[in-house]
Each structure stands twice: as C-alpha cells, then as structure tokens.
C-alpha cells in the first residue's frame, strides 16, 4: 500500500529525520496562505501515488503568494500523467507546500527486501534525484548495498561504510547515519516493502534533509497496523483495481481487448503470454485468488465486464481449490447481472469440470470451449 509523501514525512519526522517545513493544502486559497506564511516563496508538490512527478509538471516553485494560488489552481483537481501512470493519470487532490532548500548535493537512500539475501538491504547512491532504476541499469556499480541481518539490525559500521562511499564529510556522515538508522526502524516497525528518500539532500550548511519521502507498506501486514490502514487514499488507485483488491482479487488493467479470468498468478501470467502470442492482447491480468466462491467469481467477471475495452472474455480455470462448477455459476451470475452478451472462450480443467461445462452450456452464453492452451490460442485468434 502506497502512502502520500506528506504522510510518510510525518512518520519520518516522528523518527527524527529532518524534513523541510511544510503544510498540506487542498485549495488554492490555502496554498496562497501557506506560501504567504512561508515568506512568499515555496515549492508546491502534487500529492500523488506515482513517481516521475517532477518531469510531469507536478512540482512547482513559486516566488509569491499570488503565484502560489495560480499554480495551485492549475494543479488541484487535475490529473497528473507521469511515466509511471497510464494515460488517464492520477488525480491531484492535495499539495504539499514546502520551504525551498539550499541544496548542495542530492543522494539516494532506500531499504527494501532482497530476495537472494532473504532480508532487508539498504541501498545508497550518490546520484539522487534521478530515476534510480536508470542508474541501476546503466551504472550498477554506483549503487551501494548493505544487507541488514535481522537479529543485529543495521550496524554502525554499515552506516559508516555507506557514508564513506557517498563521500559525505564528517557532520553530514553522522546525520546520514542517523537517518539510515531511522529508516530501518520505520521499515521494520511498519512492515514496509520500501522506504525511500530520493533525493536526500545535503544543504549548504551540511544538514541532511529528506526532500522527498516514499513508504510502501506491505498489504499482507496491514492486519497488524491499524494506524496505517487509515492512510490509504483510494482516489489514487484505479477504481477497478481498488474494487478488486477489496475483494481479494488481483486485477491489473492492461491495454488489450480480451478480458481474462484466471485462478492463480502463474497461470494468469501464462494466459497473458498465450493470448499475446495469439495476437489478441489481454485487457487485464486477473487472478481470482484463493477461497473463491461463486460470488467472488461473479465480482471478478463483473470487474472484467466493467472495462469498456473488453470485447470478449477468456476463462482459464484449473479446478483445485476453486471448483469448476462454482466458477461457472459465478460467470453466469455476472453476465446476467451485467446483461452482457460478449463471446466467451472457456477452458476448464480439474475438479467438477463436467458440471461446470454443463452450467455454461445451459446458460445461453456464447461459449466456445477449449481443452488445452493450444485450443485457447486458436479460439482467441478466431474470435479476434
């Protein structure tokens, strides 16, 4: 679960990471007032769950209260399109108004889970403020990593080593070490999958300040973080994806026309590969997930049918936990509720497959059955 920069900065500040003075505003008038209070100049930052905000025009430096009002008016209520969003972008409903900082250097710091190490690692790079994935791809040797052994935590020798590699002078090195320790506490205490500061700046007077702040909280751990659940901002999520997530369905909107209903993430990805290979791009990734009953299947199909781009539906269900008759009933329910008439390619295998096929056959829906992935491929191609 992503949270906003200003929310992450509140958490950072509680852990004594220095952040710029700032105020969240939701109207142009508030923005004007906030900038006036800050002495007439500030930076306005669109609060959206997407990277690449700066290049997309979501960050504006203003030199007067009037400027601020104008800039805020243009940003608030708009949708921001960045390289990380789709073409619709994400809505800008709030701005973070922050003091302008005297930036001498921009660094990158993050903690995430390393699968090979099977634990958290701290990443640091002297080239902050940039697209870190680009650095990782082009100059991997410029990214320094420290694995953090859970039983010890982040050790001082590691923060010293990172500070040395970032070539920080004495005072800044010590402040940076404190920031790193705080980041690790934030990471573990909040079950984060990512804590990132990009850029972390060194000011002209050698202070270390988190200019940006990113925290992703692991969704699976939210059950033990009641305080964090309230930070979710549904407005930032794709409505269909959010609806699906609420029901325990993994749904990702894609650009094609074939609506896909699959059980299991691996089989769902395989299904994308098959339809793509058949020249029929999928409209979505959908894994109906574990513990699905007919209502959950129906919800999944309704979500698929809610996408106007979908012109046919592919069902690929391997009956195991999810029985084929249950899946079939859910599909029929959803088509009836939506009054949908789209053609269906259905491949079902496993538990209660005959009952499932019978239900679909008797439903009046335009069903083509396929038994193998090859047949699926052919059927989808034909229907395209």
């Amino acid at each position: 679960m992503k949270i906003h920069e200003y929310q992450a900065k509140e958490i950072f500040a509680r852990h004594r990471i220095a952040v710029p003075r700032g105020k969240v505003v939701r109207t142009a008038q508030e923005a004007r007032q906030a900038v006036a209070d800050m002495g007439g100049q500030a930076v306005l930052k669109a609060q959206v769950h997407a990277g690449g905000r700066g290049k997309a025009g979501g960050v504006k430096v203003v030199r007067s209260a009037a400027d601020a009002e104008k800039a805020a008016r243009s940003l608030l209520g708009s949708n921001l399109v960045t390289h990380q969003t789709d073409s619709r972008g994400v809505p800008v409903n709030s701005l973070l108004v922050e003091e302008l900082m005297d930036i001498r250097r921009e660094l990158y710091l993050a903690i995430t889970i390393d699968r090979v190490f099977r634990g958290p690692v701290m990443l640091a790079c002297a080239a902050g403020g940039m697209d870190i994935e680009e650095v990782a791809a082009s100059r991997p040797q410029d990214i320094f990593t420290e694995p953090i052994e859970p039983v010890l935590g982040l050790m001082p020798y590691q923060t010293r080593r990172l500070a040395a590699r970032l070539q920080l002078p004495g005072a800044a090195a010590q402040s940076a070490a404190q920031v790193m320790q705080a980041m690790y506490r934030i990471f573990t205490e909040n079950d984060c999958s990512l804590v990132e500061i990009n850029p972390m700046i060194i000011t002209g007077d050698d202070r270390v300040v988190a200019l940006d702040a990113k925290m992703d909280v692991e969704g699976d751990a939210l059950f033990r973080h009641a305080d964090l659940r309230g930070l979710r901002d549904r407005a930032q999520e794709d409505p269909l994806e959010a609806e699906a997530a609420d029901k325990g369905i993994a749904y990702v909107k894609l650009d094609g026309q074939v609506g896909c209903l699959v059980n299991g993430a691996g089989l769902a990805m395989a299904t994308l590969d098959v339809t793509n290979a058949a020249g029929a791009p999928p409209a979505n990734f959908l894994d109906v997930g574990g513990g699905a009953d007919d209502e959950k299947v129906a919800s999944a199909v309704q979500i698929i049918l809610s996408d106007p781009a979908v012109n046919r539906v592919l069902v690929n269900v391997f009956g195991g936990i999810l029985r084929c008759d249950v899946a079939a009933r859910g599909i029929v329910l959803a088509f009836q509720r939506k009054g949908a008439d789209l053609p269906l390619v259905v491949r079902m295998l496993g538990t209660n497959v005959d009952e499932g096929k019978a239900i679909l056959r008797d439903s009046g829906l335009k069903v083509t059955f396929a038994d193998t992935l090859n047949e699926v491929s052919q059927a989808i191609r034909r229907r395209g």
Binding site: V116, G119, E133, D191, S193, A221, A265, G266, A277, T372
Partner: protein, 295 residues
C-alpha cells in the same frame, strides 16, 4: 522414489479444523495420503472425519502419532508461529500453503530455520508437493491429474504447476514428484535446493522447471544447472508479456531490474543447457521431445 515424500510420510495438518484445512485434509486423505494428525490450539481432543485425532499442539501430535510432515493452512497472522512450532519440534518437512504471510515474518523465520538444518520449509504461498508413486499428496493440487512416473516438476506457481502436470499426464508422462516452492519474495526452499534433490534422486530421469518474472532465483538455478545438474531439464518462464512495473498477483511477479525480466532468465537457462519451452502450451510436447532424445 521421488523426493521429500514417500510411503513412510505421516502428515499432520495444522489448521485442520478450518474450512480450507478441512477441505484439503479430506482431499489428501482421498488421494491415499496418510494424514495422521491435526493441530488446532484449543480443539485438542476432537476427531476429524472420525479418523484423525486433533491436538492442541504440534508437540502432542508428533509424540502421539509420529507425524513427520506438517501441512499448514492457518491464517496469515498465525502462519509464522505454526511453522516455528513445527520446526522447534523437529518436524523435518513443513509445507506452508498459507497465502499472505507478511514478508518480514518469513525473513525472520528463514533465520530461525537456519538453526534447524534438518527442517525443510516449502512455501509459504505455495501449492505444496506430491509424490504420485507413493500416493502421497501434501498440498492443494488436484490429485487426479497426476500420474506416477519419472519426471520431476518444480515451479513457483500453483495452478501453472497443475497446467504443466496436466500436459505431461495427457501425453502419458508420469511424475516422480511435483513441488510448488511458492510465489513470495522470501521462501523456505529455492529452485536450486529442489533441483539438487532431483539430481540425487535415482527415480527422476528429467525435470520440468517452471519459472516466472521477478527476482533472480531462476538465474541461480541456471548457474547450478550449468555447474552440477546432470539430468535433462526443460524450462518455461512465464510473464514475458507482462507490463513492466506492474504488480501481477503475487509478490513474486513484479518486474524489477534487468535480471527479473523473462528474456534474461530464458537466456541464462538456455546458456546453462536447459531446453526452453516456447509457450505455456508447449510444456508437455517439449518434455516429450526431450524424453525421446534420451532414449
């Protein structure tokens, strides 16, 4: 014959009194698996399906029934505890089916398990494992699609494993064992560890290996295959057409960095000498061709 499970495997189901646990315990029993105990704290003394005694603790279950395999269905907040309990009792094989275990729980568990070298965890977030020849199913896979034989299957994904098995069985190719290692970023047993077991198993002639985008576990497997693996192996990597940066269902399927991409994995495995399965539809046929070449 086969790996990890055999006729002497005695299964204890943790969370047997839950809906999922009960359903799958029954399915395992129907397949022929020796389910000897259930564990649900507070429900000790019950009898599941008039056959299987339920205990309050793993300690009691192991002492009373000699259970030597744990199959875990408890909800995510309690999954780490269930794994640790079985590990502390020295249960040598633990399959944790539970989906949604917080990663930091698994991280800590992984360190705990390092102190118990005789305990192996499969999963979490996995379909479990099966040995069709021994009629022993420890997981949620549909038993009926399997057939005893001499091909080993290993995969990160659940239903995709069934797909693979189904294609094999449809062509008359039986399986020595099938292991779903799980889709979470941190898991108990890696591809390499399962491949080592297959390498040493005299009853496995060939391996079908299903990887996916995300992480670099397939590259580690490639390195192992190149260096030490002595048997024919064919590999499918799914997710080649998944869009970058998007989260695809389970945490295993996020694309991050070059090595996580399907092309990089396919290339590493090809160079290691594995036969590449071109599309998910070709699992069975590729395996069949490879088997024919062996003869």
């Amino acid at each position: 014959m086969g790996i990890l499970l055999d006729e002497s495997s005695r299964i204890m189901v943790q969370g047997i009194t839950g809906r999922e646990g009960g359903f799958h315990a029954r399915a395992c029993m129907a397949y022929g698996t020796k389910v000897v105990a259930g564990v649900t704290p507070g429900k000790g003394g019950q009898v599941f399906e008039n056959k299987v005694p339920v205990f309050d603790s793993v300690e009691d279950a192991v002492r009373e029934t000699g259970a030597n395999v744990a199959l875990i269905f408890v909800p995510p907040p309690f999954a780490a505890d269930a794994v640790a309990e079985s590990a502390a009792c020295g249960v040598p094989l633990i399959a944790c089916i539970t989906e949604g275990v917080p990663v930091q729980d698994t991280v800590r568990l992984s360190r705990y398990l390092e102190r118990h070298p005789n305990v192996r965890l499969i999963g979490p977030n996995c379909p479990g494992l099966i040995n069709p020849g021994a009629k022993c199913k420890v997981g949620i896979m549909p038993g009926s699609i399997h057939r005893p034989g001499r091909v080993g299957v290993v995969s990160r994904s659940g239903t995709l494993t069934y797909e693979a098995v189904s294609q094999l069985t449809n062509l008359g190719i039986g399986q020595s064992s099938c292991v779903g290692i799980g889709g979470d970023p941190v898991i108990g047993t890696s591809f390499v560890e399962v491949l080592k077991l297959y390498n040493a198993d005299p009853d496995t002639d060939m391996v079908v290996f299903i990887g996916e985008i995300g992480g670099s576990m397939e590259q580690s497997a490639a390195a192992y295959i190149k260096e030490e693996f002595t048997k024919p192996i064919c590999v499918l990597i799914v997710g080649a057409t998944a869009p970058a940066g998007k989260r695809m269902g389970h945490a295993g399927a996020i694309i991050t960095g070059e090595s996580a991409r399907a092309e990089a994995k396919v290339e590493a495995l090809r160079q290691a000498g594995a036969a590449i399965i071109p599309t998910p539809a070709d699992i069975g046929s590729t395996a069949q061709a490879l088997l024919r070449r062996m003869r």
